[in-house]
């Protein structure tokens, strides 16, 4: 019934993001990664303000993991730049690694170690002195709610627990930026909710989080900004609410009439909604059978935006602002 996939989207094409309201921790400019003739990441720009949760949404092969690998100093871009706290991962590798905690899409763990030994190992890998290991590891296990699994073998942990342990590993050196590639992948609903709570808690602690997912509702719940990515390009960027508004799908009401017809009407607020209903009931010759709000979820938005871009209607859609209501750091 939804017309999201077919309506024309009044998006605002821009060449580069607008200045963020807070200083950016991560800046990407014309970032490109080619594998032969394939552009895995194609000339993307984005800024991630400090303390924000920035979500990258896209299907498999969209270029999310490649983008993350470049930010995390694993891959050399073909062209363009990315900086983390003004450090370039290509030239200031160690400075970047001190500031970045990276959790890849496939969490690999040493199954033969205990949870505590696993974190000690990475504490040593981040050159943390042995005397600091125990309080650090205990604190991290407490944070990710694995304190009771301290001496359990990693192999014996559930996937959700391994995911949280991996997150603790990425936090072991207290990084400013957390890069989480598909952290909720393969988790059951309870584990997803727990992970979401944990991410919000980390954001409250001041961490900047760059997260990807192809389950869009997950990101809408936690992200202050999102970028919709497909085919290596960012097609829309901004706060979820702003993207929804820009696509003119923020609030719609679907009305069914007794003659069997249905129509959707945009409504911006409660007043227009009331006016619309009054007009339909009084003026419209058809009798109203029922009406219901049409919720433009992110998946619908994603489909709409990428379909529109594929159809060549717009080149890039970008809304570079932070929605204070969705930003967990707003007002802190």
């Amino acid at each position: 019934m939804s017309t999201l996939g077919t309506s024309v989207m009044p998006v605002v094409p821009i060449s580069s993001p607008e200045p963020p309201s807070r200083p950016a921790l991560v800046r990407a400019r014309s970032l490109t990664k080619n594998y032969g003739s394939l552009a895995a990441v194609d000339n993307i720009d984005f800024d991630i303000p400090r303390g924000s949760i920035f979500g990258l949404i896209g299907p498999n092969g969209a270029g999310k993991s490649t983008t993350f690998a470049m930010v995390a100093s694993l891959l050399i871009p073909t062209s363009g730049t990315v900086t983390i706290a003004d450090f370039n991962p290509m030239t200031d590798r160690m400075q970047v690694r001190r500031r970045v905690g990276y959790m890849p899409d496939n969490i690999g763990v040493y199954g033969d170690l205990t949870a505590v030994d696993y974190l000690r190992f990475f504490a040593a890998s981040y050159r943390i002195k042995p005397k600091a290991w125990d309080p650090l590891v205990d604190g991290l296990l407490e944070l990710v709610d694995l304190a009771d699994k301290r001496d359990a073998q990693v192999d014996s942990l559930s996937r959700g627990m391994k995911q949280r342990l991996s997150l603790a590993r990425a936090l072991v050196h207290d990084p400013e930026l957390l890069i989480l590639d598909e952290p909720a992948s393969g988790l059951d609903p309870r584990a997803r909710v727990e992970l979401r709570e944990l991410l919000l808690q980390l954001a409250r602690m001041g961490k900047t989080i760059l997260i990807s997912s192809h389950i869009l509702a997950e990101l809408e719940a936690v992200c202050s900004d999102i970028a919709i990515m497909e085919g290596g390009r960012i097609h829309a960027i901004g706060a979820p609410a702003d993207i929804r508004a820009a696509t003119n799908t923020g609030s719609r009401i679907a009305v069914a009439f007794t003659d069997g017809s249905t129509e959707e009407y945009p409504v911006s607020d409660a007043l227009t909604q009331a006016a619309l209903l009054r007009r339909l009931v009084i003026e419209d010759p058809r009798d109203v059978l029922s009406f219901a709000p049409v919720d433009a979820d992110l998946e619908g938005l994603y489909m709409q935006i990428t379909d529109t871009v594929r159809a060549g209607e717009v080149e890039t859609a970008a809304v570079a602002s932070v929605d204070p209501l969705l930003d967990p750091m707003a007002g802190t």
């Binding site: 690998a69 694993l74 160690m94 690694r97 969490i107 763990v109 990475f122």
Partner: protein, 360 residues
């Protein structure tokens, strides 16, 4: 800071690998199996030698006892080399490829560990496990030492060569592990290289020898560097020094590591078989050689009357004035294996280093 913590902090990869190996029963099983086999071989050999060759009073003579000690020594050394050839690639091939398969490599690469620390940790753990095996077999070398015929220095030098070979193989294998993405592929490549270093060089040497002989050379012996990447040949070389007369500085002289006859005909071992295999071939059979310390005429051909033409420079390098600058075979081995080791380490470090153009 405890020693364990110090190791864990200095090189967490090495610490983790050592801990992981120590916590699984596989290592204990390997050591036990290896020692059982080696002990059985040594015992059987001792029984056979003391039973077959006895002196005039029904007991082995002094020379005979020395020969038994030398044989035992060479047998144990041979098994050590075989162990190194089999175990080191097995221990090391999964080092980097295993991290990749487990999907833990990227977490290491984004840490503050340098690629060098990661690779050295892997190689160090592999060599440490091999050292453990070699140390476990020391009591058997001690038996040979107690029987006689070898010195502590000879044991020390031979073990040094075995350890160096283990280190070199670990460096080569860690490169295989860094290049090939799958552990199975890395294992295949590593054993392929070992086969090439051991079997390939033997075959190559034999082919060159045949080519030499077919060209009518008086003394068909390819250059020794053909064998310089062969750990078995290197150990055969150093152990030969102990079982031959020790008054000679360079045992091989103009004939290289496998010069004609070694004056140790009583020492029977796989390593002496290796040396025999690499003996220079002459156009006709029937020449007996003596590689002892004293100049012995070397037959270099046959004149038109059927008489043997002899070269009086001797069976060894005594008097071989034109060979004064010749690099000893063991030095060739060290040079070549060092080059291979450094190359292996460099490749592995390069493959682990990030950021890179492609995902590693």
């Amino acid at each position: 800071m405890s020693i364990v913590d110090a190791v864990a902090w200095r090189n967490p990869v090495l610490h983790r690998e050592l801990k992981q190996r120590a916590s699984t029963p596989r290592m204990m099983l390997v050591i036990t199996l290896y020692l059982v086999v080696l002990t059985a071989v040594v015992f059987a050999l001792y029984q056979a030698r003391t039973g077959d060759r006895t002196g005039s009073f029904g007991q082995p003579g002094v020379t005979e006892i020395a020969s038994i000690g030398q044989s035992l020594f060479e047998y144990v050394l041979f098994f050590m080399v075989i162990l190194v050839l089999f175990i080191v690639p097995g221990f090391t091939a999964s080092s980097i490829a295993g991290e990749r398969e487990r999907q833990t490599l990227r977490a290491l690469q984004v840490s503050l560990l340098s690629p060098r620390s990661i690779v050295f940790g892997k190689v160090g753990a592999s060599v440490a496990a091999t050292v453990l095996l070699l140390v476990a077999s020391l009591p058997l070398l001690a038996v040979a030492y107690l029987i006689g015929g070898i010195t502590f220095g000879e044991i020390f030098i031979s073990l040094g060569v075995v350890l160096f070979a283990a280190f070199g193989l670990a460096c080569i294998t860690v490169a295989c592990s860094a290049i090939v993405k799958r552990v199975s592929g890395a294992i295949l490549l590593a054993y392929g290289i070992v086969l090439l270093l051991v079997g390939g060089t033997f075959v190559g040497y034999a082919v060159l020898q045949e080519v030499d002989a077919s060209r009518g050379s008086d003394l068909a012996q390819p250059p020794s560097w053909v064998m310089a990447a062969n750990p078995l040949a290197a150990v055969a070389d150093v152990s030969q020094r102990s079982v031959s007369d020790q008054t000679d500085d360079d045992q091989f002289g103009e004939f290289g590591p496998f010069g004609p006859s070694f004056g140790n005909s009583q020492v029977e071992s796989p390593l002496s078989a290796v040396r025999d295999l690499m003996q220079p071939k002459f156009p006709q059979n029937g020449f007996g050689f003596n590689d002892g310390p004293f100049p012995v005429p070397i037959p270099v051909g046959i004149d038109e009357f059927g008489n043997v033409i002899q070269d009086n420079r001797g069976g060894n390098d005594q008097g071989a004035s034109d060979d004064g600058d010749r690099v000893p075979f063991i030095a060739e081995f060290f040079i070549l294996f060092t080059a291979l080791s450094v190359t292996g380490l460099a490749i592995a470090i390069w493959r682990v280093r990030t950021p890179a153009r492609t995902e590693r």
